[in-house]
Symmetry: C2
Subunit: 309 residues, 2 copies
């Protein structure tokens, strides 16, 4: 979007899903030890600047491959932060390049704080044009601090036509430790879902969705169905597909009756597809971009079955 | 510390508290609209670089004032991130300057993720010398994702003699929404405290404390006493003192029988002391550093009563 585009994030995402007929979110998780040889060479010398240049080039080439195939990409802030300020400059570059290529962007940073500190995080990452130094369309956030930690983010979403994805039920094995605890018949993740729905009140756009999305893992299909019903106006970002074990059948429950309302993230199985079969044989390291392309098309095909529900 | 110092963070903090006879943590939360005039002038023009230069100078001058008065400072990452990459360079500069001045540093970034992504955050922020681009002694982290989101941080603490402070019971009004929910007689924050204690097992140093600290707000004195007992080997970082309403009496329950084991954060009432009485009259804008100095001494005096418990 450009700075004057006031279409809500939720509506822009619905448009992008419709246009690409894809619900795939490509996770941009650059890891130094898994980069294709031609990219890894850019990091030679090992300075943060050299590594950051390699991450930027890797992500740009992925964006070139997927830009007309998927609606959205999700850079993982941690890998960029690991490189220090040089990495944070690269993160901004990757986000801008994705936006200019017509993709929506979720910055996966799982930020959280309260009051004016939460507002500072929101202003840092949300909103394109000159509003924000990093310029993402949306941001993942964590709910442990409660309602007053989410509201400042939502207020910035209102002003900047952007979105957030609140961690609700995560895909990792240990996620249940706190999230699954039941009080008076309601789980912690259920309480977060209720809060997410409350925050969307009065903010629902033409697509039927509001700015406050939710993260619900593919690895818990029953809870995904429960959460789809509990948050009818929230985009659901579904991690855990592919490398973490979630299948296409597992994620179906996340979609609405029109096959929309959710996006399914896949990181390493797409961006590092060249390292797994059949792509190792077929393309090898030299044609790693072809592996990204074919793996992305394959995932899109698998998820087309959502329309026949 | 230098890169070869392998004394644990917990023991270094105990030493610093003993040496300074202070448990005050000075929160470095630069806010553009509250800077003293001489500092605000550095931000003239409004470029991120100019604002970052103002933040750096402000924090450096505070560090000069408090370096022999307190054991530790806590820069708030959000305010630096809000300035984009220029702010992140400033954050690194402020952390380095504090370390070189003999202060310990908590980077307040409330990071959280799982597996190798959590490791990337830990490697970004924890450990001094060349190990980490930002080089903090410790980092605040959020527990919503469960045990497998905390363990990667603790493993980096082991390797880099650093520490974490896990959000347990926060000081904000909305903190109870999830944290206070009771399941089988145990609150969510109580479950997090149990996990914190488990993670310190086998990691307890000469001071009696381990690398896994906890954040417990000053605004809930009864819960602070409960949490002191539940986590006997954890340093407690107590926010909410001063501006948020917590008093010296409120925080006493956070200390062990020797008046150690906890640090009390204060941000705006110290760093922006020149904006409140009696300092407005006494020092005004021009001598804002004297206000920081006197406000810090005053807080140290108030907290000396912990020795008479």
């Amino acid at each position: 979007m450009n700075a004057t585009d006031s279409t809500s994030f939720a509506d822009r995402l619905a448009d992008a899903v419709g246009r690409t007929r894809s619900v795939t979110c490509v996770g941009l998780d650059p890891r130094l030890d898994q980069l294709p040889r031609a990219i890894a060479q850019l990091a030679d010398g090992g300075s943060p600047d050299a590594k950051a240049a390699a991450y930027t080039q890797f992500c740009r080439e992925i964006i070139d491959v997927v830009k007309d195939r998927v609606p959205i990409v999700k850079p993982q802030a941690a890998f960029f932060e690991q490189l220090g300020p040089a990495g944070m400059i690269a993160l901004g570059d990757v986000i801008r390049y994705a936006s200019e290529s017509g993709l929506l962007v979720i910055t996966d940073a799982k930020r959280n704080d309260i009051g004016s500190t939460a507002t500072a995080y929101a202003q840092a990452y949300l909103g394109t044009g000159d509003a924000s130094p990093w310029g993402s369309d949306s941001l993942t956030i964590s709910p442990y601090l409660g309602r007053d930690s989410l509201e400042p983010f939502v207020e910035v979403c209102d002003r900047r036509a952007s979105g957030v994805f609140v961690l609700v039920k995560t895909s990792n094995p240990g996620g249940g430790l706190l999230q699954d605890r039941v009080t008076d018949g309601q789980t912690v993740y259920g309480r977060v879902a209720e809060l997410v729905s409350e925050l969307n009140q009065g903010r629902i756009g033409a697509s039927g969705y509001g700015p406050v999305g939710a993260v619900v893992g593919a690895t818990y299909p029953e809870q995904l169905a429960e959460m789809r019903a509990a948050m009818p106006n929230s985009w659901i970002l579904i991690p855990g597909f592919g490398a973490q074990g979630g299948s296409a059948a597992d994620v179906l429950a996340g979609f609405d009756s029109e096959g929309s309302g959710a996006i399914v993230n896949n990181s390493r199985n797409l961006i590092f597809a060249y390292r797994r079969e059949p792509f190792v044989q077929k393309y090898g390291d030299a044609r790693w971009q072809d592996a990204v392309s074919e793996a992305t098309d394959e995932m899109n095909q698998l998820l087309l079955q959502r329309f026949s529900r």
